[in-house]
Symmetry: C2
Subunit: 453 residues, 2 copies
C-alpha cells in the first residue's frame, strides 16, 4: 500500500494558503443570472490553473466562457474534472450575517456566496494537485479541467460546447463539481442527477397599469391570468396536470429502493434545518420520503412578480406578471419535450396569452454503481473519512451531467466538501474547514489508485 | 343674475401664481403607503390655508394627521370640502418621462405624482377662495376644509376621526376631492363611490428558502400555497367564490340603468387608452359594460411577490409569498364582514396557513341625484363648461364618502379638473391646465348660488 504521508502533510501544511486562494476567488463576483463578473472570473480561473503548469485557455461560447486546462501525468489515464466558476445571486442581501462577496471565517467555517457551490471545490482540488507537484514533481495521471460559467443558469451552452469538443475533453472518468458528507459526516457517492427544465411564464394584459377601481370589473388582470395559468399546472394534490408530462418517466428499480433504504432517514434533519412543519403529499419519512425527494419529477415556482410589492396598499391593476418555474425531470424526460407539452397545455386551457421563455434545461443522467472507477472512489474514501462511502443512486438536484455520461461516455462520480448545512443558493452559504483537506486527500488517493489500475 | 366677471378675471389673472403654489405642493412627497413626507406635507397644507385666513390646525390621528381649516362667510350656510394631501407611490420610476416629484409643464399639461390626485384639486379651490377674498373681501358662505393623509391607503383612520369630530365638521353640503370631465370634455357629476376592502395575503411555508432540487418534491412551497389560495378566491369565470360574498349586494335600479344608458359608451376609449384587447366576461360595450364597471363587486390582485424575481434563473423554493388584493364593494357590503368571510373561506378550503392582513376599507355610499345641492352644482356647471353636467349614479373607484353621507348626513358632490388621461396612480400622472381655472370658476358659482338659497 502506497503511503500518503507526504501528500497529506503537504495538504495540511498548505491549507491556509489554499483558503487564501479561495478567498480571492470568492471575492470576484461571478453571478451568471445577472451577467456580473463572468469574464473576470474566467480569467482568474485560467491564471489559477496556469500557476500549476496547466495548459489553459478561456474558450468562448454563446454565453459565459468555459475555462479548459490540461496537464499530463505519469500514466496515460485521464480524469476529467468538472467545476463551475459562476454562483447564484446573493439576494436577499439582508439575511446575510456578513457580506456575500467578502468571505469571512467564523467558528471553523468560511461564509460567502459561492464558497461551497462551487468555488472551494476547485481550490481544494488544486491543493491535491499542488501536493503531487511539490512532493513528487508530477501528477499520477492526466488531469483535464472543464470549468464553466453558466451552471447556476442551467448550463445553457455547455452541452453544445461538449459535443463540439469531444476530442479535447476525451477522458476515462469524470469527477463532478460537488459531493460531500451527510448529516452523520459520512461521505456520500451521488450517482445520478435529476434533469431540469427552467421557464419564465409571463402575461401582458394591458398597455399600462390601471387604477383598480376602474379596471377591476372589466379589464383582464395580468396577475390573475398568471395565477390561473399556474394553477392549471399543478393543484394542491401536487399532480402535474400537463398532459403527457409523465409519459417518458422511468420508474425507479427495486435496487434503487434498496440503496435508498440503506441511507439514513432525513425527516428530522429536514424539519430542523429548513423549518419544515409538515411534508407535502402526506409524506411522513422513511424510504418513501427519500424516494419521493429524488425519483419524482417536480414543478416548482421559484419566484413570482406582479404589480405593487412595496409597503402598505396601492390600488392598481397590474398590466404585467411573470413567474419563474423549474421542472425537475427524471429519466427519461427531455426538457424540450416538456416545453412543447407545456405550450400545448396552456393553449388548450385558454392561456395562449401566457408567454413561455425557456431559460435552459438538461435531461437526467445516471452512472452505474458497479463501474470500476466508482469502486476506486468508494474504496479510497474510507482511508480519509474513517467511514465507507455510501451510494446514493439519484439526488434531487440537477446539473449538466447528461453530455458527460452520454456524449463523452464517462462514469461520473461525486466527491467534495459539501455538508447538509452548507446553505447553497441561500443566504449565509458556507463550508466547514475541517472537510476541506479531507476532500483534497481523497482526491489525491483517487488519482493515484486510478493511475495504478 | 350675479355677474362673475371680476371673479373670473381674478382667476384667469392669477392662474400662474396658483400653478406655482401647486408645484411647491407636488414637490413635497407625501406617500402614505410608504410613510414618506406626511407630517411635512400636512404642515405645508396648514400654511396654505392660513395664508387665506383660515383658522387651521393639524390634528393627530393614529395614522397620518388630518388638516382642518375653517373660515366664516357672508351666509350661515357651510360647505365642507374634502381633499387629501397624500399620493400613491411613484413606482415604477423608469416609466416616468420626468421625475415624479419635480413637476414639469409640457404641452399644456403639468406632470407629477399627485398633481391630479389630489393636489391640484386643493390649489384650484384655493384660487376660487382667493378670488372672493380679493374681489369681495369675504366668502359668500362658510367653508370648512378636511384634508387627510391616508386616502391612498384606504383612509384607515378617517372614519373614526369624523365620528369623533361631528360638531367641528358640521355642514350643509360636501364637495368631494375629485371630479372632472369625460372624454368628450363634458363635466360629470359622480354621485356614488364603491366601497373597498384591501388585504394582504401572505404565506410562510419554511424557515428559509431552499434549493429547489432538494425541496421541490417534498417541502411546501409558499408561492404554490399562495397561488392556490388566490385561485380559490376567483376563477377565470370572474365569479368570486367566497361563500356569502354577494349576500348583502343591493342590485342597481332601473333608474340607475337609465342614467348609465344616457352616458356615452366607453369601449373604444378604454381600448385605446389602456391597451385593452378584449374586455373580460365576454363584455362588448354599451350599457352592459358601463353597468358592470361600477355596480359589480370585484376581487383584484394588485401585486404578488415571492422568491427570485431578478434576471435569468435561480433555482430556489421560496419560503415566503404575499399578494395585495383589493375588493371593490357595492351597496350594502361591509369590509369587516368580507374579511370575516374571507378568513372562513380560506380555512374551509384548507388555507389556514394563509395569513390575512387587513390594510383598510370603507363601505360604498351614494347621494340622491335629486338633492337640491346636487341641482346647484349641475346647473352652475353649464355657465363654465358650455355643457350641462351629466349624472353618473355610481363610479368604480372608492373613497371614504360613507361617513360623510351616513355620519354627517351630507349630500356629497364631485367636481374637479380630472380628465380620462390623467393617469392617476400610474406613471406620468398629469392635469390639463385648461381645466384648472374652469374648476375654480365652477366652485365660485357653487359657493355663491348655495349662499343665496
Amino acid at each position: 500500500m502506497t503511503s500518503y504521508d507526504k501528500i497529506d502533510a503537504y495538504i495540511d501544511k498548505n491549507l491556509n494558503k489554499s483558503l487564501e486562494e479561495l478567498k480571492v476567488y470568492v471575492e470576484q463576483p461571478s453571478i451568471s443570472a445577472q451577467g456580473i463578473g463572468l469574464k473576470e472570473c474566467a480569467q482568474l480561473v485560467k491564471e489559477m490553473l496556469e500557476k500549476r503548469g496547466f495548459k489553459s485557455q478561456v474558450m468562448e461560447t454563446d454565453g459565459a466562457p468555459v475555462v479548459f486546462g490540461e496537464r499530463k501525468g505519469k500514466s496515460d489515464k485521464t480524469i476529467l474534472i468538472y467545476n463551475h466558476y459562476d454562483v447564484q445571486p446573493p439576494e436577499p442581501l439582508e439575511l446575510w450575517d456578513s457580506p456575500p462577496f467578502k468571505p469571512e471565517i467564523r467558528d471553523g467555517k468560511m461564509y460567502g456566496r459561492g464558497v461551497s457551490d462551487d468555488k472551494s471545490h476547485l481550490t481544494s482540488r488544486l491543493l491535491a494537485i499542488d501536493a503531487f507537484l511539490s512532493e513528487e514533481g508530477e501528477l499520477p495521471c492526466n488531469i483535464k479541467f472543464i470549468i464553466e460559467g453558466e451552471e447556476e443558469t442551467s448550463s445553457v451552452h455547455l452541452h453544445d460546447f461538449i459535443t463540439q469538443n469531444l476530442d479535447l475533453l476525451k477522458a476515462d472518468a469524470c469527477i463532478w463539481e460537488f459531493g460531500g458528507v451527510d448529516h452523520r459526516d459520512k461521505p456520500m457517492q451521488y450517482l445520478g442527477l435529476r434533469g431540469i427544465c427552467y421557464v419564465e411564464l409571463s402575461v401582458t394584459s394591458l398597455g399600462i397599469d390601471v387604477h383598480s377601481g376602474l379596471g377591476g370589473s372589466i379589464f383582464p388582470n395580468a396577475a390573475w391570468r398568471l395565477t390561473w395559468a399556474l394553477n392549471s399546472l399543478k393543484g394542491p394534490d401536487e399532480k402535474i396536470r400537463i398532459p403527457g408530462f409523465y409519459d417518458d418517466v422511468i420508474q425507479p428499480t427495486e435496487r434503487d429502493r434498496e440503496l435508498m433504504a440503506k441511507l439514513p432517514d432525513v425527516e428530522d434533519v429536514y424539519k430542523k434545518q429548513f423549518g419544515v412543519k409538515e411534508f407535502i403529499k402526506g409524506l411522513k419519512g422513511g424510504v418513501d420520503l427519500k424516494m419521493e425527494e429524488v425519483f419524482v419529477p417536480t414543478c416548482t415556482i421559484c419566484g413570482i412578480t406582479s404589480g405593487y410589492q412595496g409597503p402598505g396598499s396601492k390600488t392598481v391593476q397590474p398590466a404585467f406578471a411573470s413567474a419563474k418555474v423549474d421542472f425537475r425531470l427524471v429519466m427519461n424526460q427531455k426538457p424540450e419535450d416538456i416545453v412543447k407539452k407545456l405550450r400545448a397545455h396552456l393553449d388548450a386551457e385558454g392561456f395562449s396569452d401566457v408567454e413561455i421563455n425557456f431559460l435552459g434545461g438538461e435531461p437526467a443522467a445516471r452512472t452505474d454503481p458497479d463501474d470500476p472507477f466508482v469502486k476506486i472512489v468508494l474504496d479510497t474514501a474510507e482511508d480519509v473519512y474513517d467511514a465507507p462511502m455510501e451510494v446514493v443512486p439519484m439526488i434531487g438536484g440537477s446539473g449538466p451531467s447528461y453530455p458527460f455520461v452520454h456524449d463523452l461516455g464517462l462514469p461520473v462520480v461525486t466527491m467534495g466538501l459539501g455538508y447538509p448545512d452548507t446553505k447553497a443558493h441561500a443566504p449565509n452559504e458556507n463550508i466547514r474547514l475541517d472537510l476541506y483537506p479531507q476532500h483534497s486527500k481523497h482526491l489525491a488517493r483517487v488519482m493515484r489508485k486510478f493511475s495504478e489500475r
